[in-house]
Symmetry: C2
Subunit: 563 residues, 2 copies
């Protein structure tokens, strides 16, 4: 097994094609520079009186899409956020720690008794650089367009830094941004922002190396993952995470119990609070931005889980359940929840409260076990908020389409509007090999109703560990779901994106279609292959091989309507 990512995927500068350029927008409150990718369009599209000759995309690829940045995966990305933080008086260097050999930076933490979370500042009325960054990022430079839209009766307005602050103060949104992850480009998870997606990576005991996982994490954010969870469970778990964090412009989440379990040789019953706490601190100092913690599964809920078709399908949940049964004691992640919050607030790590009892089959959806735990997640939310810890709530799982809405309604009700972060839901159990699609179906509906972030599912779900192609497929298909949910929620920028795409389609501007599509590499390639039998690369054709020139409806439609 390789322990160094020497053979890493080298980011091509031309990954997105020649019509994509990297731009940066300066903040006005803070010295932030918000990166976007701007697509140059081949012509000017006039929509409702506004001219568009380019379109700025919300961009998760960070420095990887900036040709002026030299990427050295052994050194990691530039530590942009350190500069914002440099005059802070509420943090200190962790005593007795050495700098990371990668970014030469010693971990920091809050001074004793201080809270350094975004929620802490938000509640004090302070707009942080992270909040301003998010506001600029969410607007995609489309403030004018959004204003015009909102004057036409839409309730959507451009995002202001003050709005971000308010949403975070209320607990309706989070910015996962560990103070030890200076490479991060802040982003918000909340239902009044763009719907986000997470990509899971991580080696298992059976397969894959560090370099493969770092490659997958870079790859995932290039395709559009808003956050990445490192679910590694094999050897080299610390080192893998270090490489991933130092090279990640997006928040990194983990499930710390996986590493804690490695420390006790895989024996769940040998876990204890001390080992778990040390693991939290180890990962906190590395810069993990959010932790999945299964604090909500209680002894009382186990009998209901036992009656199920598929029992407990959360890995973390099943570990805790095994510990609880062995010790006949309440979940130590529940009994030590205050201690956990105390650690999280010292680094600004968001908690993603795990749904250990999420349904793993249609038969188990919306059952007693699931909703009992969800109520407990709501109680824990209030407790975390007392510590100013940012919270999101994890959700199912497998849920038939007719029961999806109830999940959203109960989550909002029980969990006090904390952001919902779900896996799918998958709307049937029989779609192995195609579970990415299955998840996108349930995810689109749930996100359109208010779910803030979708965890991707890849075609390998239920069958094996995803490879790079699976990661790409999973990311794109869930970006599709997230975007479709934004459309359903009436997002003016999402609607504009679609309108530009359709205008390009109607005017046979093939390059614009490729660039505006979710996967420009694939669309360009598929169209070129289809056009090969014809002439050239097809980018000048006023038809495609699907219908051919005589049966192209758009061509005929233009002849009829004269436009």
């Amino acid at each position: 097994m390789s322990t160094s990512p020497d053979n890493l995927f080298c980011p091509e500068q031309n990954f997105y094609g020649p019509d994509s350029e990297k731009i940066y927008i300066d903040g006005s409150l803070h010295p932030v520079k918000v990166g976007m990718r701007r697509i140059k369009l081949s012509k000017t599209y006039t929509l409702h009186g506004t001219d568009f000759s380019s379109f700025p995309l919300y961009d998760t690829s960070g420095p990887y899409s900036d040709p002026s940045v030299t990427i050295d995966l052994h050194k990691g990305l530039p530590s942009t956020r350190d500069f914002w933080q440099k005059n802070r008086t509420d943090i200190e260097v962790c005593p007795g720690k050495n700098p990371s050999p990668m970014n030469n930076r010693t971990p920091v933490r809050a001074k004793q008794g201080k809270s350094v979370t975004q929620m802490h500042y938000a509640r004090k009325g302070i707009i942080t650089p992270e909040m301003e960054y998010v506001a600029i990022r969410e607007n995609q430079q489309l403030e004018e367009w959004i204003e015009r839209f909102s004057s036409n009766g839409s309730s959507v307005k451009p995002v202001t830094p003050e709005f971000v602050r308010d949403e975070i103060a209320k607990g309706r949104a989070i910015i996962p941004a560990n103070i030890n992850h200076p490479e991060l480009e802040p982003m918000a998870i909340g239902r009044n922002f763009r719907v986000k997606i997470n990509a899971n990576i991580g080696n298992s005991a059976l397969a894959s190396s560090i370099s493969e996982e770092v490659e997958k994490s870079v790859w995932a954010c290039r395709w559009g993952a808003d956050t990445v969870m490192d679910l590694s469970t094999g050897k080299n778990i610390h080192q893998t995470r270090e490489w991933i964090l130092r090279n990640s412009p997006v928040p990194i989440g983990t499930v710390p119990i996986y590493q804690a379990l490695e420390k006790v040789g895989g024996k769940a019953e040998e876990l204890n609070w001390n080992i778990y706490r040390d693991t939290l601190i180890e990962q906190a100092e590395q810069g993990v931005d959010y932790f999945t913690i299964h604090s909500g599964i209680l002894l009382d809920f186990l009998p209901a889980a036992q009656r199920r078709t598929t029992g407990i399908v959360s890995r973390g949940g099943s570990i805790i359940a095994k510990w609880c049964r062995a010790h006949k004691q309440e979940n130590f992640l529940y009994s030590h929840f205050d201690d956990i919050c105390d650690i999280l607030r010292s680094y600004d790590i968001a908690i993603s409260i795990g749904d250990a009892l999420r349904p793993g089959s249609i038969a188990d959806a919306n059952d007693e076990a699931q909703f009992s735990e969800l109520k407990t997640l709501g109680e824990l939310t209030l407790k975390a908020w007392k510590y100013d810890v940012q919270v999101m709530i994890e959700g199912p799982g497998h849920v038939p389409l007719n029961l999806v809405e109830e999940n959203m309604r109960k989550q909002l009700e029980y969990c006090h509007e904390a952001p919902f972060y779900t896996l799918g839901p998958l709307v049937t159990d029989i779609a192995a090999g195609y579970d990415h699609v299955n998840s996108a179906i349930g995810g689109t509906l749930l996100a359109s109703l208010g779910c803030a972030m979708l965890c991707y599912v890849t075609p390998k779900e239920h069958l094996g560990l995803p490879d790079k192609n699976d990661v790409r497929e999973g990311v794109i298909v869930h970006k599709l779901a997230a975007h479709a949910a934004d459309i359903a929620k009436g997002s003016p920028s999402a609607l504009l994106h679609d309108k530009l795409m359709s205008s390009a389609r109607y005017s046979f501007a093939w390059n614009d279609q490729f660039n505006l599509s979710l996967d420009p590499v694939k669309t360009r390639q598929v169209h070129a292959e289809s056009s090969q039998q014809n002439t050239g690369d097809g980018t000048d054709d006023h038809f495609c091989t699907m219908c051919g020139p005589d049966f192209c409806s758009m061509k005929k439609s233009q002849e009829v309507t004269g436009k």
Copy 2:
């Protein structure tokens, strides 16, 4: 270009693996034999007191999955339905016609002034062999399970032949079954039956040969297409259709205006009723089971279409619009609608009334043009029903998720509960390369609300002509959508299928998981590849490479719950 399917995909007898066997269920009213595929399970699953050691699948593959049938694509499939029809007194041989060189059968039609449609018989209280066939088929031999389910408060009951008759009499369901398609295995399209899917095939002027298209049609029904539309527009259009029909156990639909347009050299303005009528009769005699006819687009609606982002995106619709503009006359498919119905009732061809003005972009969804036409489709439905012609209504297109429900509601209201047959809808415009997923998202929701059949979309949509892999991907993903909609509608057999799958998953019965999945070939292959690094083919493992043995939640869950 090859004109003979010599190089055809040869159906492997072992296509579905060794655990799939072909069975036939006899009718009690008629000499029908209903084919199904029964999956042998590796163990007996006891669910709610009932033992399952096998599971019968609704099967669209016809004789291709029966190892005892010799397939000769030059002769076509056995003419099973001819036997049912042999004593009929209401049909006659079409005068002056020769037998088809493939099945040695001369086309028949209704005697002068007679109607031979399923609706005609249904309204007279007659249960046809087709109706009984459908009833047996829909139940999947699960009558007892369904009864038990319905005694638990579900309104779903086993399908009886009388129920099928009643649904057809009311126009709520159709059985597309041209009397000249004796190779057909009847199936029903209606919202009180399983949700169905259609696969489009057909060469364009630019690409593909007859053999490729026949291969795709066989391939599509092997993967689960309930009907196939032959949208060929190139040369050899008659011969391609003959090969497809003679080898198709599923209903074949066409858009006759495509062939009519070929007859006038591709010039829409040179079309006329006589050419169109002759085309209808030519295809009727060949055995096409349903026609898409764009009778609902009227001159009055064109200005609204002109204001759109993407105008008219229906191929047939754009041809008619061009004709209307050129002649400054009303759509001849509207003015000759009675003549059309007179032909259709003579062969029992269902009409799929085309939505020429379906939205081709999110911006155009649910607009005036679309709903004006939908109202007209409702008027035409009533007119067709006067002739006892079976009707379904075609639907969008591109519709944001939040506007999907309105489509179903208005369709039911305007079109008097005639079955709805939709393309997607796609819930965003920017998913080129992944439009099969896009379509499955909108399609699942629409079908869960009552849409009876989903037309598949392949990954090539908007980019080029689908190849065999695209056909498979499109079919499976839309079967997923249809099944998920059945689950959402509370179908006891669909829920049982999922429950068996999840039970197999929880007990690590890998072969059962493969066989119960939508694509056994893919699941088996992916799992084997993932397990290669491990030992053997992984079918005996009590974990998979996704999590590895120490982190398998199901394994742990069993240890905890003791089951």
